[in-house]
Symmetry: C2
Subunit: 179 residues, 2 copies
């Protein structure tokens, strides 16, 4: 549970905001239906004051068992995780949990589209990176606990940052998964 | 926000538990990947005590903008809402929000599978009821704020309660959406 405070602290970070804005745009224009899942919380105590909203007074962060985002696009199930890193040369496995990786494997197995959106925040570069590449690095080698940025540059797809939608990842998804 | 305390109170109810067990079974056997979304919560304050887990000390329930469950089955996006009612003769619209209904419309529009699982708890009958029927009652008539149980009996599909999986709704989904 040690990474969950960080997870909460991350909530205001710009990649997530960019993607949320982008999904709002997609949902509003009828292009796709994609939502961020709520942060999983274990609720322990709730007060029910008269005449006002129920107040949660004790709760704890839980480890997510799936990824950040899922939904439907062009008839396909779409599922992805967004991660920002300050690392300049590699994408560390850091707070990616084995059950999240299992989840991605299962999504691929069932014919869904599964990927990461990775932002290297120091250089402000954002990539779409297919889950199958990630899974290889995570499970098929034991030498390193990260993926070289160069591999992501070569095998991922750079996302341009625009005004609206902010990160038009479906434009890339069209090329990668529907052509 | 007035229905959210009830929503929290409902968390221990048996339909949701039955479906969660069923999804665990589906996930474990590789049949489908379906998860319940976490209850959406607006976090206002978090304490970070030394040497122990971050504690949320103030938070509020938010209205869900989507449905309870989604995932992938046989390559299709699947999305549904589970509701229990104590009403004996009809299924009241009660705490179903317009944006949840919009969400279901959009899922259908994009080619996804969308339905309700409705339990009439007094008589202990559980039905799978396609979202298109629900949407008709919710948006195309103004006479009533509920759906007659008889319509659900005739146009829905009764779900048997078994040992494992508890409510084998994919068995019905096979017949209704894949044949
Ligand atoms: Mg993330
Ligand atoms: Mg429900």
């Amino acid at each position: 549970v040690t990474d969950t405070p960080a997870r909460f602290a991350n909530r205001g970070m710009s990649l997530e905001q960019d993607i949320n804005e982008t999904n709002k745009h997609y949902n509003a224009t009828g292009k796709a239906v994609i939502h961020k899942k709520p942060t999983p919380v274990q609720i322990v105590n709730v007060d029910y004051p008269k005449r006002s909203a129920a107040k949660i007074t004790e709760a704890y962060f839980k480890q997510p068992s799936t990824t950040d985002y899922n939904g439907i696009y062009r008839g396909k199930y779409i599922d992805f995780e967004a991660k920002e890193t300050k690392n300049k040369t590699s994408f560390p496995f850091g707070n990616i949990h084995p059950h999240q990786v299992d989840h991605m494997k299962q999504v691929l197995h069932h014919g869904g589209v599964s990927f990461f959106i990775i932002r290297f925040s120091i250089v402000d570069e954002t990539y779409l990176y297919d889950a199958s590449h990630f899974i290889w690095w995570y499970t098929e080698q034991t030498q390193r606990k990260s993926i070289p940025k160069q591999h992501i540059e070569e095998n991922g797809h750079r996302l341009a940052i625009k005004y609206a939608p902010r990160v038009d990842f479906l434009d890339i998804v069209d090329h990668v998964y529907y052509s």
